[in-house]
């Protein structure tokens, strides 16, 4: 079957690629686009390891067709740090040891950033429900939730 030509923006960069009609956005990212930060833990939208944002909206890239990226703004974990400067969430995850094996970490960070963009002052319950779509088998979530809450507090302070 003929490939589809897609014109999109990924992490701010104008990007073109070809994909199969049935190809997922996750496979396009990890394959031809060489962005392997998003992970496939399940392929069915249950684990959140493949989280990206599309026009600022949090999605599981395994559930999105690559062709659907046409004309939209895609953001992945690779675009989260500004050069050598880590996003405050990334820095806080390191400081609090909010990762162990690290496979879920890109998805958790993308999701947490998306939360703080909508809600800069989330309660613990709000953090827990927002991240309920991101499975982590290592940490028991304790340090992840703390890292998100602490980052939110510091970002609020910095914005004052």
């Amino acid at each position: 079957m003929a490939k589809i030509h897609v014109t999109t923006t990924i992490n701010g960069d104008p990007t073109e690629f070809l994909c199969d009609p049935a190809e997922s956005m996750l496979d396009a990212l990890r394959g031809p686009l060489g962005l392997t930060g998003a992970k496939e833990g399940c392929g069915t939208g249950d684990c959140g390891a493949c989280s990206i944002t599309v026009d600022g909206r949090l999605v599981c890239s395994c559930l999105m067709l690559a062709a659907e990226a046409e004309g939209h703004e895609i953001a992945t974990i690779e675009g989260m740090a500004q050069g050598e400067k880590l996003h405050p969430l990334q820095q806080k995850f390191l400081e609090l040891a909010a990762l162990q094996c690290g496979i879920c970490t890109p998805g958790v960070l993308v999701a947490a950033k998306s939360l703080l963009e909508r809600n800069p002052d989330p309660s613990e319950t709000e953090v827990r429900y927002w991240l309920a779509g991101n499975l982590c088998r290592c940490t028991g979530y304790d340090k992840i939730v703390r890292a998100v809450m602490e980052t939110a507090a510091e970002m609020r302070e910095a914005a004052r």
Binding site: G41, C42, L94, A97, L99, A132, N134, R137, G140
Partner: protein
């Protein structure tokens, strides 16, 4: 080691591999690609049990794009009745688990594999393989597998003189249980079941393998041991270990489940046949159907106690599902469950039962949470029957230094009593629960902890920094702890130490990342290597100063003349000595290879508060505290992380996780949607209390911490739910339907 002087040990440093892992740069197994790479897929059995009469791969081979097809015939043949041990595994089973030989033994059992230019073509070709099966009766549950009319999975396995699916028995005995129970004022006997649960690592198994024309083989894969991958691939393919280089990718969780191979030998043969690098990645469904899990079990536990709470006898009978090949963790179930207690009379027996499920793999303290579940739930009832606080009763009976464990060893330097005392003193335990349908449960857990083989190399760079190489995949932050130790010993800044995980060609043999052994063992070889390096540094300084090396001390990252030479020469830093390495004798570096011993056991006490919604049957974890003897916490944040992660897995095991089979013997919930692991909104913050009783047999006092925190979890949660409802539960998981049914049955009984 003097705690006061520690600059890095005990500090919450930022892990050396951290930035790569928060920016998406870290390379996990499925992230690797190679030029010219092709993809392989596996054909799996549609039956839970069948003889393979024939396999015809001709149509698959003819499909355009297909480059190679493999079946069991392409691998080393191991006779089914002759053991081929490798560690705790048996390669005749590993071979048959990887690709079925005489029979398929579970739904999803690999039968053949195809490599093609795309994954889609490989999958299409799998459908063209014709397999002629003779379907056999099957059994997935223990009772069905050991029933007199059950079809044996193996013709050669016998139990008590008859063909059987009981493949093994293990017995631990101490004292005389009949005499013990005769002394008891209270005897409680209960039977329990637990369901198989999966390790649940988020990263599916994956590998890329390239076999060159001369046979030299390179494997990139995610595992809990690159040397295990090398050895098993060598066994199963016949390629010498020296021709295989196994490179460890970052590993996305294992919990024991990645201590064996599924894909690497298959990809190796397909690569050799096709002449192309071959990549294989399992789907989540394949992971759930055909890897792990740990055993489901049934058990009967009887415990006798005096009125004052003294335990006098314990008897446990544990049947564990091995899946389709022998080797369930009966040692963990029968061997760990009574071990924390100084009970004079114990008989603990485990039975290894094969059935038509996927072969079990290790899962975090394999078997121990199962045995502890039975024993700790009965202990709870014993305490209730004699009117004693359940923790106080446990403390009264706890093993101390010098207590002989039921499986043989005499305990030394253990912190069991201190751990329980810390739990008793905790603010959590002192705070009473007041709400309706709320309950508290406690439980203890014990695990062996392992030592074993490890290697390390410590090199000083020309600019005076340090590169440490070890041989253990870093599954939860071990690089950070190794850097803490090296920086401490050398007296330099943490940031000057790089820690790498070597591949099988670049570092000496190192056993698995498993058995809670990695930091224990790698700290020993890193310490010895670093001490050798410090000796070299002193010699280099002595040479420059023209004095004897014995007159040089190493302090705060510098060589300093001592004794009669004190103050005669300016101190020399690591950077200065590194820069002068060439003129003082060449490269500075040292290695160590040891078969480490002295890994003292792990012990944990858990306190769990729950609230039950009696209409919905849901259980909310209100509060959870994990108290554990952690030896010395080299990096406290990652020790806490191990404890919290273990707790979460125990909660999952207790409340929701289970394999569900349909009437055709197929796993009915092979997805993260239907196999319900704890999500973020299921849990509260998980409190930890680290009790530090340093291991005297270790240079830094390290004790393994990874596995013990899973062991008490299922029992602690079950005891809490029982306490909340006044109904005893004996079967896991405590899922909503089971809780609602128990409440209904209880009400019906009360009404009658």
């Amino acid at each position: 080691m003097n705690d006061q002087s520690n600059k890095w040990i005990g500090k919450r440093t930022i892990r050396p591999d951290g930035v790569d892992k928060v920016t998406g740069r870290a390379c996990y197994a499925a992230d690797n690609s190679m030029p010219g790479m092709i993809w392989a897929k596996v054909l799996r059995s549609p039956h839970p049990h069948a003889k393979i009469r024939s396999i015809n791969t001709a149509k698959a081979e003819a499909l355009p794009g297909v480059k190679a097809v493999a079946t069991a015939k392409d691998f080393v043949e191991f006779p089914i009745d002759t053991a081929v041990p490798l560690g705790i595994q048996d390669m005749r089973w590993m071979a048959r688990n990887m690709l079925a030989h005489e029979r398929v033994l579970f739904h999803g059992h690999p039968v053949a594999a195809v490599a093609a230019t795309t994954a889609e073509i490989a999958a299409e070709a799998c459908k063209l393989i014709e397999v002629d099966y003779e379907v056999l009766p099957w059994a997935v549950e223990i009772d069905d597998a050991i029933a007199p009319d059950a079809t044996p999975l193996f013709d050669h396995i016998q139990f008590e003189g008859k063909p059987s699916n009981i493949a093994g028995k293990l017995e631990h005995k101490k004292g005389d249980i009949d005499a013990g129970f005769a002394e008891a004022d209270v005897i409680i006997e209960r039977s329990f079941t637990t369901r198989p649960v999966h390790q649940g690592y988020i990263e599916p198994h994956a590998c890329t393998v390239s076999v060159a024309a001369d046979g030299s083989t390179t494997i990139w894969s995610s595992s809990q041991g690159q040397f295990m991958v090398r050895a098993m691939t060598a066994y199963l393919t016949g390629i010498p270990q020296s021709d295989i280089r196994a490179i460890p990718a970052e590993i996305g969780g294992g919990f024991g489940g990645k201590t064996i191979v599924y894909l690497e030998p298959v990809a190796t043969i397909l690569s050799r046949k096709s002449g192309r690098p071959v990549k294989m990645v399992m789907s989540r469904e394949e992971v759930m159907r055909a890897t792990g899990p740990t055993s489901g079990a049934k058990m009967t536990v009887r415990i006798g106690a005096k009125k004052d709470g003294t335990l006098v006898a314990g008897h446990g009978i544990f049947y564990l599902q091995a899946g389709c090949f022998p080797g369930s963790p009966i040692r963990g179930a029968a061997g760990c469950s009574f071990t924390p207690y100084a009970i004079p009379n114990v008989l603990s027996t485990g039975y290894d039962v094969v059935c038509n499920r996927s072969k079990v793999a290790a899962y975090r303290a394999p078997g121990a949470p199962i045995g502890a579940y039975g024993v700790e739930c009965v202990l709870d009832e014993v305490a209730q029957a004699i009117g004693m606080d359940p923790l106080e009763m446990r403390l009264k009976n706890i093993a101390h230094d010098g207590t002989k464990a039921v499986h043989g060893p005499v305990f030394q330097s253990i912190g069991f009593a201190q751990t329980i005392e810390a739990a008793l003193k905790s603010e959590h335990y002192k705070t009473k629960l007041t709400g309706k349908f709320q309950g508290r449960g406690v439980a203890n857990g014990w695990w062996f902890n392992a030592g074993g083989e490890s290697s390390a190399q410590v090199n000083i760079t020309e600019d005076g920094n340090v590169v440490v190489t070890t041989g253990h995949p870093d599954i939860g932050g071990s690089r950070a702890s190794i850097a803490n130790i090296t920086a401490e010993l050398l007296g330099i800044d943490y940031d000057r130490v790089s820690v790498l995980i070597g591949d099988t060609a670049t570092i000496g043999f190192s056993n698995l990342t498993g058995g809670s052994r990695v930091l224990f063992a790698s700290a020993m070889v890193v310490t010895e290597s670093t001490e050798k390096v410090i000796e070299q540094l002193k010699q280099r300084a002595a040479k420059i100063w023209g004095i004897d090396a014995s007159a040089v001390v190493w302090e705060n990252g510098e060589a300093r003349p001592s004794g009669e030479h004190t103050g005669n020469f300016p101190t020399m830093t690591l950077a200065e000595l590194g820069a002068k390495a060439n003129e003082t004798g060449g490269p500075i570096g040292a290695g160590s290879q040891q078969n480490t011993t002295g890994a003292e056991c792990g012990f944990a006490t858990h306190i769990c508060d729950v609230e039950v919604d009696v209409d919905l049957g849901t259980v909310t974890i209100l509060r959870y505290t994990c108290v554990q003897d952690v030896g010395k916490a080299i990096h406290p944040a990652y020790v806490e992380g191990q404890m919290q992660g273990g707790v979460a897995q125990g909660i999952g095991w207790a409340l929701n996780e289970e394999y569900i089979y349909d009437k055709q013997g197929r796993v009915d919930n092979p997805s993260f949607l239907d196999y319900r692991m704890p999500v973020c909104s299921d849990l509260p913050m998980l409190d930890t209390i680290m009790v530090e009783i340093p291991n005297p047999k270790h240079p830094q006092g390290v004790r393994g911490v990874g596995e013990a925190p899973l062991v008490p979890g299922p029992a602690a949660v079950c005891n809490a739910v029982s306490n909340a409802l006044g109904i005893r539960f004996h079967d896991l998981p405590l899922s909503p339907p089971r809780i609602v049914a128990a409440i209904d049955a209880n009400m019906k009984q009360a009404a009658e």
